[in-house]
Amino acid sequence: MEKTFKITTLEGVHARPSALIVAAVTPFTSNVELIYNGKSANLKSIMAVMTQSIPTGSVITISAEGADAEALMSKVTNVIISHGIGEEC
């Protein structure tokens, strides 16, 4: 399953937002990828997320596959919105 977000936090997906998102998805068993600018990164890897250097205003897609994909998606959506990192498109 997939979901698209628009990044609204002024600093872009810097260390703190990356850490929040990665920590949120790590406990799940599903595979999860972040797609930005045609490039895909493992959303459980803070290095991979940070090296994408996603600025504010960008549109990203999160794609999850696996047994608990649905729960993962609702958790990550919650984190992105409640911490003001981005909004659903």
Partner: protein
């Protein structure tokens, strides 16, 4: 027994074992291995140990400094357990190399990747990876890294130098004393040691060479002596001295609730300097009349990004509420000089103290400044806030800073957010130019606060961090006293008040002179408040004033000091 001499910067006597902050060297060779699985196990074991270590550090940082500052360690935990990095290291090991080499190759690759990124902020993240890789490597090599935030017994910290942020992290419960190789009376670690009331001796040059980890050390923060492996006799002597020091504190105790007034009934304010909202406790327990200087830069240090408006607002509100309506002077960001913010990625300068710092930086990077001004304005309704700008050299700078403040104020009012109407806007007088035209500034500023540490270094053109020219740090010099008099007279002529928030304000020799010249507010380390109040209570302003003409005509600092000691006190 060995005696080392240094500069006494924070009074008191401490006796404990040495804790040496020395970074061990982590060296290794590239080794070809055949047992791949065993090597991967070794890596997993090191990751597990590092994880445990980071969790403990994270936990204790949470308790001590709160979630925000501890956040750096949860980021480190994520880096440590990063699946991509881990599998990259395992991939290298499978090419039959030892774990140390594989780790180094992979972490270096990531460090280079981050350092080559466009955003300055991302470049800084390389340091986090380096830090995590270092911990991991130390565990692979079975070498213990020193960690002063995990102390569990009383110690004397021995180090080459302590950065301001390191000093701010020290746990007062366990750190009984500080000894460093370099530094001086006004270095920031010294100022912080005083505000935390930890005895400290700096500038010993040889402490790290001569003091072994775990040996018994005595720190005499009054004379500047550090005694290693003291004999029973000497230890006995210092235990008595320690008791006397505590007793002296008892004698000053009654002054906590007494007003700050001279023998002839002249009232002044004796207030404290603080670096963090927590420091306010010491001002309250010492009965300070308010805060004369809140160095807000500490809210910006020791972190990865600028503090947001909300965080700052909370800190200012806390200080204002704790002061319960007593005057609280908050200085806007004074960064640059010896206080750096890595995440601003400022270029190195030949003369940082003469360079891009304080108000110069704030007027240039207005988003940082406006953010702080908004937080301050929003907090202004919770107490008696006075804002002052640092390092003002020209009227243009003061006018521009004040204009930005008023713009932010108007915006808040337009949005229906309450701000205090009677907030005073003042400035630091710490450049000779500001002192010379203090009469012009006094027409536009609500108050002036003399920052002597910088005023002295700029007047004598002598770097206060440079030990070879430290003899030029002369607070009693007639050149300084005349400037101070000019500033006080100029302010009073315009009906404004004058404070002083440098080290000089709490100095035994300077106090009689400053009282006679008419200084209104003396701002100092919390630990000096009571002794300053007791001194002023014994002095008569009326009787001191006729001596000022003679003092200002003396030719050297030494003559001034002798005059004051022999005739005035």
């Amino acid at each position: 027994m060995l005696e080392i001499n240094g500069i006494a910067v924070s009074n008191g006597i401490a006796i404990a074992n040495a804790y040496c902050l020395v970074e061990p060297t982590l060296s290794f060779e590239k080794v070809e291995i055949s047992e791949i699985d065993a090597e991967i196990e070794r890596l997993k074991d090191a990751v597990a140990k590092t994880k445990l270590e980071l969790e403990v550090i994270h936990e204790s940082a949470m308790l001590k400094f709160g979630e925000e500052k501890a956040g750096i360690f949860s980021a480190h935990l994520l880096l440590l357990e990063d699946p991509e990095m881990f599998s990259a290291i395992v991939g290298k090991i499978k090419q039959q190399v030892n774990a140390e080499f594989a780790l180094d190759e992979v972490s270096t690759m990531y460090i280079n990747l981050f350092e080559s990124m466009e955003s300055d902020y991302m470049k800084e993240r390389a340091a986090d990876i380096r830090d995590v890789a270092k911990r991991l490597l130390a565990h692979l090599l079975h070498i213990e890294l020193p960690d002063y935030s995990r102390l569990s017994t009383e110690v004397i910290i021995v180090a080459e130098d302590l950065t301001p942020s390191m000093t701010a992290q020290l746990d007062k419960q366990y750190v009984k004393g500080i000894v460093t190789n370099i530094g001086g009376r006004t270095s920031h670690s010294a100022i912080l040691a005083r505000s935390m009331e930890i005895p400290a001796v700096v500038g010993t040059k040889t402490a790290t060479k001569n003091i072994k980890h775990g040996t018994s050390v005595i720190v005499d923060g009054k004379s500047g002596k550090v005694i290693v492996d003291a004999t029973e006799e000497v230890k006995e002597f210092y235990l008595t001295a320690q008791k006397d020091f505590e007793q002296e504190g008892q004698l000053l105790h009654p002054y906590i609730s007494l007003p700050s007034v001279s023998a002839d009934g002249h009232h002044v304010k004796i207030v404290g300097n603080i670096g963090t909202p927590e420091d306010i406790e010491a001002i309250v327990t010492n009965g300070g009349d308010g805060v004369g200087l809140f160095r807000t830069e500490f809210l910006y240090m020791d972190r990865q990004e600028l503090p947001n408006e909300e965080e700052q607002f909370t800190a200012y509100k806390k200080v204002l509420e704790k002061m319960e309506g007593k005057p609280t002077v908050i200085r806007t960001l004074d960064i640059g000089g010896d206080k750096e913010l890595p995440y601003l990625n400022l270029a190195n300068e030949m003369n940082p103290f003469l360079g891009y710092r304080a108000i110069r930086l704030c007027l240039d990077q207005q988003h940082i400044f406006r953010n702080q001004l908004r937080s301050l304005l929003r907090a202004s309704v919770y107490g008696n806030l006075k804002i002052m700008f640092p390092m003002i050299a020209t009227l243009d700078e003061f006018r521009e800073a004040k204009k930005l403040l008023l713009e932010e104020q108007q915006k808040l009012i337009d949005n229906g957010i309450p701000v205090s109407e009677k907030m005073e806007i003042g400035m630091m007088v710490e450049t000779p130019s500001a002192a010379i035209i203090a009469d012009l500034f006094a027409k536009e500023a609500d108050f002036l606060s003399i920052g002597t540490n910088d005023l002295i270094q700029y007047t004598f053109a002598a770097d206060r961090m440079n030990e070879r020219v430290s003899y030029l740090y002369q607070p009693y010099h007639p050149a300084i006293l005349r400037l101070v008099k000019m500033v006080i007279d100029a302010a009073h002529c315009n009906g404004k008040w004058v404070g002083m928030c440098g080290e000089m304000a709490g100095d035994e020799v300077a106090i009689p002179i400053l009282l006679a010249l008419g200084l209104d507010e003396f701002s100092m380390s919390a630990s000096s408040i009571l002794s300053a109040r007791s001194r002023i209570a014994r002095l008569s302003k009326e009787k001191l004033m006729p001596h000022m003409e003679s003092i200002l005509s003396l030719t050297t600092a030494k003559e001034v000091e002798e005059y004051v000691k022999n005739i005035l006190i």
